[in-house]
Amino acid sequence: MITLGRALLLLALALAVGGAAASIYGARTRRPEWVAVGRRSAYALVGVLTLAFALLEAAFLRSDFALQVVAGHSSTTTPLFYRATAAWSSQEGSLLLWVWLLSLWSSAVLRSSHARLRELAPYATAVLLGFAAFFGSMLVFLANPFQLLDPAPADGSGLQPLLRHPAMMVHPPLLYSGYTLLTVPFAFGVAALVTRRLDAAWIAATRRFALAAWLCLGAGILLGARWSWSELGWGGYWAWDPVENAALMPWLTCTAFIHSVMVQQRRGLLKTWNMSLVLGSGILAVLGTFLVRSGILDSIHAFGASTLGKPFLAFVAALAFGSVLLVASRRAELRSEGRDWSLVSRESVFLLNNLVLVGLCLVILWGTFFPLISEAATGDKASVGPPWFDRYTAPLAILAVALSGLGPLLAWRRSSAEGARRALLRPLAASVAVVAVVAAAVPAAAGSPRTLLLFGAAALAIAAVAQELWRGAAARRRVSGEGPARAVVSLVRRNRRRYGGYLVHAGVAVMLVGVAASSAFQHVRDVRLSPGQDARVGSYDVRYVSATGAVGKEKVSLGAVLDVRRDGRHVATLRPNRGYYPSRDPGLGPAGRWFDGEAASEVGLWVRPQGDVWTAVQPDIQSMQRMIDGIDRRFPLADAASERFILQAIADRYRMLPPAASFRLIVSPLVEWVWIGGALAVLGGLISLWPRPRSLRVRSAAWAAAGRLGRALERA
């Protein structure tokens, strides 16, 4: 089976290299049969990689510890679901997942558009297969998932306990889908440049892929943040860590592209800009994978051994250099078709919003790579912290939200002063009203102009969406005589792209309100409490009622029962605890090995729309160290049954005679709206992405065919 796995990877590499070569040869010599060979290699790649991935999955499910990756990331005690997903917690498995997803999207886009984009498709195939070849050679030569371990251990070291969370299992495939989906527009962009066919055809063919990439990246980032908030014991959801930034940067450029591409499709403007965004997003996607996998920057995400650093760096550099060269050599063809450009128009707002988004991306890029920059400039490796990021990202985010409100209100080309005034009046009034009410009602907000500004911008964005929906539905009712609810539904159904996008605007505005409120008005306390003692955090009193101790199959949990009260009235009971997972170090005793291994916090969380109460506990193991050491000395060779007995005794002792424990208590207002807003945005993205009803599709296909016929007649 291992031989089969390795053979499959070699075959995949051969298919990728051969297919890319065949595509280019076929396109250069105008031989369709060679182009078809390239395309079919891409299809075959899906089959080969699916089989390889299935083999790896099977090894994980069967706990085949003869494979190094399985032994290192799974164990017989790991639950089945997490065993299946442990495959991508390893370097090797995640690279295989990457290239497998890449092959899926490549085939999908080639199937749907090779006939339409006859000239571009071969080059795009070559670029996509080139990506596959790079990752394939990583798998074959540097990070082979089918590496044998001899002798095979009896059990593996298990999945890192912090990763045992459903969100964490979906999060990596989503991010990787996002990264790999971004390579599709990248490939077609390169193909358009190479063939000098720089009309909007390639954009139309890959727009959905860009949108899907945007959706996957966004949903992946959200899930990661949610996991961090509800699972990790530090009490936050974003830390400006390199790995987080790695996913956010291509998401920002992709967001910019989704908007500016409309300007090109409508007005023939911004061609160079769009091309640069597409190429930049593709490079950032590879850079993202590279940041996670290379260990070049210090991160709270631990990085694996960094044998992959240099090849990745060379690959990213080659992509960047090639892209710049290609765009520069085609700048005559990339000149805009349109000329006039009015300041008060939708395209102006789109351009501004693009500048803001790209500015955000550049700030994050600079901050992320600052350690390397500073080392190169001063010889001193230095880093910037979250306050530095916040200083720039907060005002830019406020600006972006305000622009997302303005854009839909202004017309394309030129808004008349009267029209603009009419469209802007109500949303602007709503925005001012919200700021005034919040400033008057929440004293803490009055002292934070940044937060107030964001609330104002969000109100503007949401009011703009509401007004557009209202106007559209009213117009529809006049024409069709439908009821109000039906009018809204059919309006959205007929313009999924637009109204899905508006829902995204509203969702992002809601999300940023949550971010602003939860970071500006949050209360954090670190306290040490004995049972019976109270601590006050925000307007809540938290009492440490009693200790808990339990011995499970995989872990020993020590925790606390907390009574949360407000104004003397009980409102919630929370049970944060800490799970201790055994170490496999044979030098440790039967009790000590449980407390010297990995540990993970289980957060006690009280969720409400107006704000969460978040608690984590750090039991004081030190106070029991003597007891643990004594047991280890006396019963070094305890069997499994007596080990359980001993652990139960330790857990009971902790429950009965609890030492003081350290607590982190957080009251975070409106933090749930981060996830609610995020969910709305994802829903909006899905609506935009959903295929149009068949009847409309048929009609527009007929129009397109008529257009093609007309053009053909013109030429004839």
Binding site: Q160, I300, A302, A599
Partner: protein
Amino acid sequence: MARDPSRSRKRRLVVALLAAVVLAGALVYTSFSSASSARSPSQLIRSAQPGRSYDVTGKVLPGYTRNGDELRFRLRDRGGSAAIAVLYRGAVPDPFRAGREVIVTVARQDGQFVGRRDSLITKCPSKFSAAPKRT
């Protein structure tokens, strides 16, 4: 009002370039002035200036103590024996252990190093290559 498109094009370009230069200048200036330098424990022993903050990376020596929310530990070079004493308050990541590699932002105060609240980060043991590591 007749407008010369190429002139307005040029003006737009100048404005955009100006904005970009201002932003870039601000980025460069603020990042260099507010960054904390990365150091190893032995470098800190030799040359830590009081009042400046440093990101120190090292391995935790066995025998750390916790008292209330105070954590006292000694940090040694990755490949050496020089060690500094660190007094730290704030959240301690779940994987914090003797022998693990950690990063913490510290400043020298009265002969010892005091960590900035919540700046302690634990790096994973290498076998968990994709394991996120914050508390």
